[in-house]
Subunit: 147 residues, 2 copies
DNA sequence: TCCACTATTATTAGTCG
DNA sequence: CCGACTAATAATAGTGG
């Protein structure tokens, strides 16, 4: 996918294939980490290749085993197609809990910002994460966003 | 990683996160397919997310299960370095509990045999499970084994 | 909510030392 | 064979409908 658009087929040349593997494994694991972090999903991967002796596991052995064991033990009908009522109910509950979670996060942010305001008013140091020029807007933002 | 360089952290906004997840899952699975095809390695992935009801499995259920089962059954030292404390601790605890269990079993046996001895001395029937010719040795065995 | 678009960044095939 | 580099393609955050 660069210099030359590459044909999606087994790379016959050994050296070329090994080099490509190294680069792409790196990229692949980065993508896994990003997806995992940005969206907080349960994600496991395992690669067996002749280019390393031990399997390459993400995120780590225990988590991967736990995620996969859970899947293996799922009853067949849950592994695919037809979703049962129980699962739908669970999904709804998860959605509800997520909304509550977001609310709590907002509340925490508000408290955090408000504390920063008080701290600043009492002459404390400006937190590293916040620039002085933000100060004028801080109070406005707090009220605008959270009330 | 585009328009704006994105911070590698959980995306708080629900909608934004869902959209990002969709796009990135697509990209991730593409990368998996490419690595798999170009370099012909054994590769399995599994994602559980609130954005789909069924786990997203690559390359397919059976292959993924087979690859992971193989891994789970590997001897510990092959599973590699990053086997963490949790599992070691669990293993140690199980070993300890098993030892205690064995001790308790021995204790129970001793009590059982001793009771049989008393029963015999008081003229009770020989238990079916024990032959008369064993009797000579019983007391010796009790002491030899358990003291 | 979800396309489709596109400006940008990220990935990587091939090159060089 | 390997690491660094870079030209070129690929992925995707934000946008507009």
């Amino acid at each position: 996918m660069v210099r030359k658009k590459v044909k999606l087929a087994f790379i016959e040349n050994n050296t070329e294939r090994r080099v490509s593997y190294r680069k792409r494994q790196k990229g692949f694991l980065t993508k896994a980490r990003e997806l995992n972090t940005l969206c907080d999903v349960e994600l496991a991967t395992l690669i067996n290749s002749p280019y390393h002796n031990e399997p390459e596991v993400f995120p780590n052995n225990e988590a991967a085993i736990s995620i996969f064991t859970k899947f293996i033990n799922l009853p067949e009908e849950k592994k695919s197609k037809n979703m049962k009522t129980l699962e739908k109910i669970t999904t709804k509950r998860i959605e509800k809990i997520e909304k509550e979670l977001e609310k709590v996060r907002k509340e925490n942010k508000k408290i955090e910002y408000t504390n920063q305001m008080y701290g600043l008013l009492n002459g404390e140091e400006m937190p590293n994460s916040r620039h002085p020029e933000d100060l004028n807007d801080l109070c406005y933002v707090i009220n605008k966003t959270y009330n």
